[in-house]
Symmetry: C2
Subunit: 204 residues, 2 copies
């Protein structure tokens, strides 16, 4: 599946860059419009292609859309995150599977044994799961925006409680959660500043 045309990509149109980055915002309130199940499938079928170390793909996703599921998740969230979860049509829990190496025979067919030995070191598995699971969480946010969805990512919740309820009997650890839907513009806070290029880095 080599795409010979890939080296001749040009920049996406300015409106697409706005939609993905410059005009995109984190929403706190949501319209009643639901997120169709095929949109969630399409979202996964985009984000899954984002790169991870040795193709480990450690992120696991619980797409919470039932009233019961939203109520259980909201109970475990902090402060105003509770009402945001209840109001959103869907909130996805992004977890890191510490047992990700079990999948390597399928995901990395030619080097699975070598990598499994490497990832048998708990500290290596943990940092690899966190780094790459977070990358996949960001792919989810940008894939959602690319599909015309709005996002409301949140870290303020009881991680251990969420793991107990949604990832019982696994070694999956919740990383962050993200509401998905069609945001209400009047729920936006004023936009916060960012670091300048020079504050955030340098050429060497």
């Amino acid at each position: 599946m080599i795409n010979q045309a890939n080296t001749m990509n040009s920049a996406l149109p300015s409106a697409a860059l706005d939609q993905l980055f410059r005009a995109a915002r984190s929403y706190n309130g949501w319209s009643d419009r639901p997120v169709a199940e095929d949109v969630v499938q399409e979202l996964y079928d985009l984000l899954k292609w984002g790169p991870t170390s040795a193709n480990v793909c450690p992120a696991r996703f619980v797409w919470v859309r039932s009233p019961e599921g939203k109520a259980r998740l909201a109970e475990l969230a902090m402060g105003t995150n509770r009402s945001k979860i209840l109001a959103a049509p869907l909130t996805v829990i992004i977890g890191n599977d510490l047992d990700f190496a079990e999948r390597l025979p399928a995901l990395m067919p030619y080097g699975a044994e070598t990598f499994q030995k490497y990832f048998a070191q708990p500290a290596v598995a943990e940092v690899t799961a966190m780094r790459n699971g977070s990358l996949q969480g960001a792919y989810l946010i940008l894939a959602a925006r690319a599909l015309g969805l709005d996002c409301g990512p949140m870290s303020g919740f009881d991680n251990a409680g969420v793991d107990k309820v949604f990832f019982a009997d696994t070694r999956i650890q919740s990383n962050f959660i993200c509401s998905l839907g069609y945001g209400k513009p009047d729920s936006l806070f004023p936009r916060l500043p960012r670091l300048t290029f020079e504050e955030a880095g340098r050429f060497v």
Copy 2:
């Protein structure tokens, strides 16, 4: 800077979704075409808008493009990553600044003190830096692709050695590195499979 039109976004055209996700690949070899400095600035000016917890923006970037810089970085890389770094026009080191909270008076003007107290707990600062620094690394990959660049992200290098050379006298810790440029299609490996929707998650 509220964008009222944001809730009416539609999906980007299929070719854009291909460029960002479905046809995008991790390159191992690079054409001689350089990455212009204004493209790097534009890349940062896109990725900086991606969301982070409490707008902490912990990622720091060293854009390595000089022959001396590439040689020093390549020495600290594992195996074939050395020649990839030397061949690429530019390789960026993405680091997590554990002192990110010092920037909060500017980045989060109305809640800086509360958040600074929270992030004074070392374990909280560490996980926040790693989660959000990795998110920002993924924003970099997708912003690069959105600008028509190709990426070659890598984790195989001596993190402590890179920190000593490129982040001396700071609490910035290298996370991963990513070559940027215009990839050679003949440097691609065959594409590896991904988990299915059902293998990676479920509806609740």
